[in-house]
Symmetry: D5
Subunit: 120 residues, 10 copies
């Protein structure tokens, strides 16, 4: 996974002393189902309180585009994205939420979180 | 009930050390009214924090399709689904919410929960 | 009031050991204004955690239809419905919410509650 | 029917030389099902191009309230209201649209029209 | 097909001299896919101008419930329903529109029509 | 009426050779009921194809504010506004649509038109 | 201010022993800007838990209509309404929320509260 | 292009004598920008009146998935899809509408049509 | 105006023999009021049937950004954009629709059209 | 930054003893991307509990318009606005939330807060 995550870039948090929330909502995520090879589509909501560094937006887009031709399960990809982003920018708190389009009359939502929004 | 529930399959939780939330929203549930034999329709929202195992999505669909020709009350079916799913995957926490279509100018919502979302 | 409330029927709670929530949303309630005799219209949202018994849905509909020709104020009817239903099924917790259509550019919402949702 | 319709009042069209459209949307109509005696609820949309006289709004409200305790079918009541209003104000054109709440998973809409919107 | 259609009942059009529109919107239709045996779900919008007879609403509901355990394609069922209803009530004009839930990221709408809405 | 209408200002149509459409949607109109003195509220949609001159927007606002303390019926005010604006700017075509807030469970819409949108 | 507030009437709380919530949503409030004299428009949401007395709805409407020709700032009018209503009915808890229409691309919301919703 | 289009399958129109409308709405289309190689996303609405044959739904899905790794402009892909589908099933009438997600604050819609919806 | 319009680029229509519709919806247009110098904001909807050439999307964005520091009236800018685009790509038909944000409780929509959508 | 912030004006809080909430929602904010010089657009939601002084609305509008020709990052501008406003009016609590339009399929939301909403 190191390969894909290395594309992520960061920049210094311009206001590191204030615990403010940054949210990026990705409307155009797609990956492949590891069982059938069929495309999956999701909307991803990433929220975090930065530590010393923020995630650079264009590199985030390119990082997520790498999943376009990769087979991976809903539960797994949600956690992998969280782990990669935490490794890249060491946030005080971070949450990743993926919402997948309908399959067989069911749509799924996965939410994974790192650290605590409230505190130190 | 064992008969229907045995169709449920599970797979190992890929990230068992993180208490993340998995939600499946079922748009196409239908069962029968045990009094009149008339069809009932519901939207089911299943949310849980997995323990060692996750619910496999296709088996969940097939499990719920079994109610298509079964007479059962709103309050009962909500609790039975919760009990069956808890038995199948031993989650840390699980909640089942059913929202039924209008009958006689009234629509109903039932919410049953197992364990605590916060802890343990 | 006893007269109207006696129409309410109940059935045994199929899962009395679990504190789950039952909600019935009534789209077609109408009563009369006690001052002018003009019709009033409301949407009623009834939520409760059952004790030993649940409210039977058809009798609930008939009970509420009795207000069609009865003059009663917003604040009063909300509380009377709550009192009647609590008497009929002894819930652990119950809440009645009425939302009235616009009169003179104002619409009103009344919410009355019995017991505590959390405990005991 | 004469009895109910006689309550309708009219006033002189203040601009009889212009073929403008008047629409009244009634949110609170209720009648009874002639088979079961159960209440029915509808939203009524009345549109017309007046001739010499316009329908007075308060009398329209009182006229429609008379259906509150009357058993009548969807198709019938839509046409009867149209016939009564045409008789009362002789419009150039008139249309009555009723939209009924859900019964048995089905809701109905009836639209009846008198004269032509376009011309003379 | 005769077997299923025979359940349809009609009643005399109460206003046969006026070409008004009757619409029934069915929220709870379900049939089976003839290839996979999996359930399909649709919303059906039936509109017509009656001739001498109208479709009775409860028999329409029961007629449509017969598709619950029948395998039939989208295009076919839309046309069969239209043909059966035309045979049952000989309308001046009739249209059947079916809107199916998502399958494989695609949802479908089929619209079939009999006669002309405009004329005689 | 001359008094109120004289406040309307116009400016030369910057593109008089093209029959384009100008629409102003007024969210904050209020007048008084001539029977009860109670305030009425409406949303007004004014559309027109200009001739040699366009309606100046600020003067339109001030013109409409004059109705704040004036008693006038729905049907009348719609036509009076149309007549005043036509007199002020001689449009090729103009339409005034007023949509009033709910009174006694009914809301009203009035639409009056001057000239033809299509031609000449 | 006493002058305007004296118009407010109250009636005995029909269920004084239960801490239920009463909410009135006013869709048609208008006042004047004290700087420019231009009309302001707001939607007001009043919520309270009554003590011994409730606010009478028609007098509330008339009380609020008095602001139609009065110049007053957003922040001020929100607090003055709260103060007047608290004086009139001595509620256990009361909250006034005003939401103003757009001015210069900005719309404003003011929320003032008296007492505590939870206790006492 | 022949290569991709050959994947399209058809089946005999079950009701070839009736000119009914079939519509497939594709929620999950993605292709690549031929200039930048960046992913594009669209919602495609395909409507047609079949001749002798209908488009098979699964093969339509697979046909459209082929654009996932192909660089092509908005205007071009809309017309190519139309041409390929017309060649595959010889419809009486067909229309393809693509709606693309926002790029640089602009989103685009392209609509191409073959034959006439009205006639022979 | 020549100066600003020269930034517009075009490319050959890939399917010139088909009269298909291209629509670009611009969410982020801003200009200045020529009277007050205050910023105006609009959403622009451009639709056209191309002749030999199509408008290049990025140059369209840059062309529209030039209005950011230019004072111009609603009616004027709508027509100027239409004229510039017609000059740049000689479409069979073109329409420009601008929808402006609220000023003084009024929002405006201007629609200008070149050529005929129907024909040659 | 002092230069821009000096334009902010304040007025005395008319009800300084009550901790009420003031919210201004700005629909028309635009700045420039410091990397590309391209325009950015945001909706800003400012909420605060005033101390001795309130922010004057017109000066707030002019203050925010200064960003129209200034290059600044999302995270930075959100914090700078908060800092400037806190300096101008010394609120008990203040929060600034910016919501940016889509760039590359991603839209962003930044929320920064000063002081505590709850207490003293």
């Amino acid at each position: 996974m190191a390969q894909e995550a290395s594309i992520l870039e960061t920049f210094p948090n311009p206001h590191p002393h204030r615990a403010y929330i940054i949210e990026h909502i990705v409307h155009e995520f797609t990956s492949l189902c590891p069982m059938t090879g069929q495309p999956d589509f999701a909307r991803i909501r990433l929220a975090y309180i930065a530590g010393e560094r923020c995630v650079e937006l264009k590199s985030l887009k390119l990082y997520l585009q790498q999943y376009r031709s990769r087979g991976i399960f809903y539960e797994d990809v949600t956690n992998v994205i969280l782990t990669d982003l935490v490794a890249a920018c060491s946030p005080r708190w971070m949450r990743v939420r993926t919402r997948w389009t309908v399959r067989g009359g069911i749509h799924s939502v996965i939410v994974a979180e790192h650290g605590s929004r409230e505190g130190g």
